[in-house]
Symmetry: C2
Subunit: 430 residues, 2 copies
């Protein structure tokens, strides 16, 4: 019977055949232990010399790393392995012998691994990260579908951008100039006026010459936008969303978190509500901590975010930033027009900002004024202003960076490991 | 109590307040009927002069199209409306008055509507199409998650392409040249070797100067790729997938299909298995039908696809195309090396090809030969060949075009209405 490693649990004490690759092995004169992988998981195949033909035992001993094969064996319980099962091998059939697989169990340099990303993904750690990424995506759809959101795909190719064109990739669009979107937000606002609550999930692009462990050139964002939802209601949706994702990963990625040696006690606590601190208080907090490189009106850098995050064991909302350091479309606080009805959500353990969000300006005159102040114009903004002209309503939205969220939940230090094929300043391959 | 139109069913005989827009209205001296929308649906609000204050009744009569407002009223059953409920209005509060909304209930030209796409999305028909699109996406994730697939996001920016660069958008990637992906397939093959069964859902780009009702410049594809799955098994997964999507839409988009006046009897029948016809038999069939513009070795045009589709009441697989007219990576049929283990899935009712798929070449030498024949090279292919060098396995995959599928299921003639913000030859706005 054909099976996969993920489904052997349904075949206890039965004999199954699995298409797999040899991940690793060790053997003695009488027994060979095959570490097998098939994409759905990892399992140990035990080949006992006395239980198989001489040919099969010799084959088992000579198998090279990443050779593909069909493995037939009986599924038995094995409480020492994360999976809980192993295979008592009765037969092996090689599909294709791999020679000199470049990524051996020894240590490799980062550039070497990145050059072989198409193969590196087969490693236990990268496999686990991709499975957690998948669960974050799956539970994202689950959450927004349950809450009545409609998935909307904003365009990638746009005639102009929300916030200037300096960090945008340019392409000729037949006779016109086009840019790759770095946020679908403006379009999502239009969609929210048509569909109520919407969310996007797609790639965004930033042609930024920065080289940090938190930045990718091409990254995926989830951008919900909600009509008739104010800043306060938006924060509740954000904390419920992030809680749902973290709890889903804990529930459905137990083996992967174990592989990643993630301290899950730090994740179990991630349940709404999340703590909040105003920008004003955060500045004071940092000054009290001895930071002398930040003043009211400055944006936070990574060390500031980390210091604030360390004061909490959950993600923390920093709210009410100064208008000047935030996007032009954020709504001013009616009680203090110097600050915006906005929040950044900072992940614990130094993983930085994972969400930025705000209530949006819904007043046509104020939005026009902002355009003037920010010296924004061009035909692409006409339609955005029209959203304030024809039945404007209070509305809010936010953007979550998928890869930073994967980095946090998996405990991965560098963001390049959180996306299948990372695009970095000097990396467009593979 | 705050509610949405989608949730009034939980508040029968209760008084609720809904944030909404005025979609349309008619009134007489004693009664006003307000067609209200809030993104989650459409509902009729009935304002009876004798039941409300004079101020509220006058307000109701003077409301302009797309004015935003809070409507308070009692939820009652109304079997004449698709929703099944209406609102007996007791109070109205205008949020923002819309003046001279450009899209009136009268007929508008296509270019005018496309120029106002950000507002056109609010119309009943466009709203319904977007909701069906959402359900297709939702049920796609549901299907592949259930079947153990991992969502993988292949890169959009690539150093080179699968099939030449003539129809690709180009951008400078710092000092390098990059192109926008028109298929993630090669990357998905690498991912399948790491994760077993994977699927992508993301934007793809074709800089094609064609102007047909079936083509978009920017469109979304679902690209599954499966290790240890042969052509025959892949066809089964394809027909199960498409069946699942169609049945999900029938189940969860009843109101929208009614709005679209879709003949649902044509959709109810869409259940696996789907009929199959070989390319050879399809050519013969067309000749018998009197087509004299096609011979063995030619690819099908839209009229040919439509003629073949008309012979069936389900989507039909056309299998075993000549190697020459298909992609270089398709595996030849071991019984006839002139044709490939491939299939196109043609939607019924003249909506054309929605899936293309095949088993992939897994032999390194044959793949190298194909590279030579197609004169493909460049560093980006090195890693693709390595997938055949290190533990090659039989594997198959396919790509479904989301917008064509939306067009078919919603019964929409032109593909420009199937995506929120279409990108066409002369259309980069809004
Ligand atoms: Mg920040
Ligand atoms: Mg075709």
């Amino acid at each position: 019977m054909k099976a996969t490693i993920a489904t052997v649990k349904n075949h206890l004490e039965e004999t199954v055949t699995i298409g797999a690759w040899l991940h690793n092995k060790r053997s003695s004169g009488k027994i060979a232990f095959l570490q097998l992988r098939d994409g759905t998981g990892f399992i140990q195949g035990v080949v006992v010399k006395s239980a198989v033909s001489e040919e099969v035992f010799e084959m088992a001993k000579s198998l090279t790393q990443e050779t593909s094969l069909y493995v037939t064996g009986k599924v038995v319980e094995d409480n020492r392995s994360p999976l809980g099962y192993e295979l008592q091998v009765s037969d092996l059939e090689v599909i294709h012998e791999a020679e000199d697989y470049p990524i051996t169990p020894k240590e490799h340099g980062t550039e070497f691994l990145m050059d072989h990303r198409h193969l590196w993904l087969r490693s236990k750690r990268q496999h686990a990260i991709m499975k957690v990424r998948n669960e974050i995506i799956r539970s994202t759809y689950e959450f927004f579908n349950q809450e009545g959101f409609v998935k909307v795909d904003p365009p990638i190719l746009t005639g102009a951008s929300a916030e200037g064109t300096t960090e945008l990739f340019h392409t000729k669009y037949f006779d016109e100039d086009a840019y790759l979107s770095q946020s679908g937000q403006l379009y999502m606002e239009a969609a929210a006026m048509a569909l109520g609550r919407v969310f996007s999930f797609g790639p965004t692009f930033r042609a930024e010459k920065s080289k940090t462990r938190r930045h990718l050139i091409e990254f995926w964002m989830i951008e919900p936008e909600m009509a008739f939802i104010d800043h306060e209601e938006s924060l509740k949706i954000q904390e419920n969303y992030v809680s749902h994702v973290v709890q889903s990963v804990l529930e459905n990625c137990k083996i992967e978190l174990q592989t990643l040696e993630r301290d899950t006690s730090k994740l179990e606590n991630i349940k709404a509500p999340f703590p909040r601190i105003t920008y004003d208080d955060a500045i004071q907090f940092l000054k009290d901590k001895g930071f002398d490189d930040i003043d009211w009106g400055d944006d936070f850098g990574a060390p500031h975010e980390t210091a604030i995050a360390e004061a909490y064991d959950k993600p923390v909302f920093i709210t009410h930033f100064p208008i000047e350091i935030k996007a032009f479309y954020m709504k001013p606080d009616p009680n203090n027009s110097k600050v915006a009805l906005c929040a950044d959500l900072i992940a614990p353990e130094g993983y930085g900002e994972i969400i930025g969000g705000s209530e949006r300006i819904d007043d046509l005159e104020l939005m026009k004024q902002r355009y003037d102040e920010h010296q924004l114009n061009g035909p692409a903004y006409e339609w955005y202003l029209q959203l304030r002209k024809y039945g404007s309503v209070p509305h809010s939205g936010f953007g979550l960076g998928l890869e930073r969220t994967v980095a946090w939940i998996t405990g991965t230090e560098h963001i390049r490991e959180t996306i299948p094929f990372p695009r970095l300043l000097n990396r467009l391959y593979p």
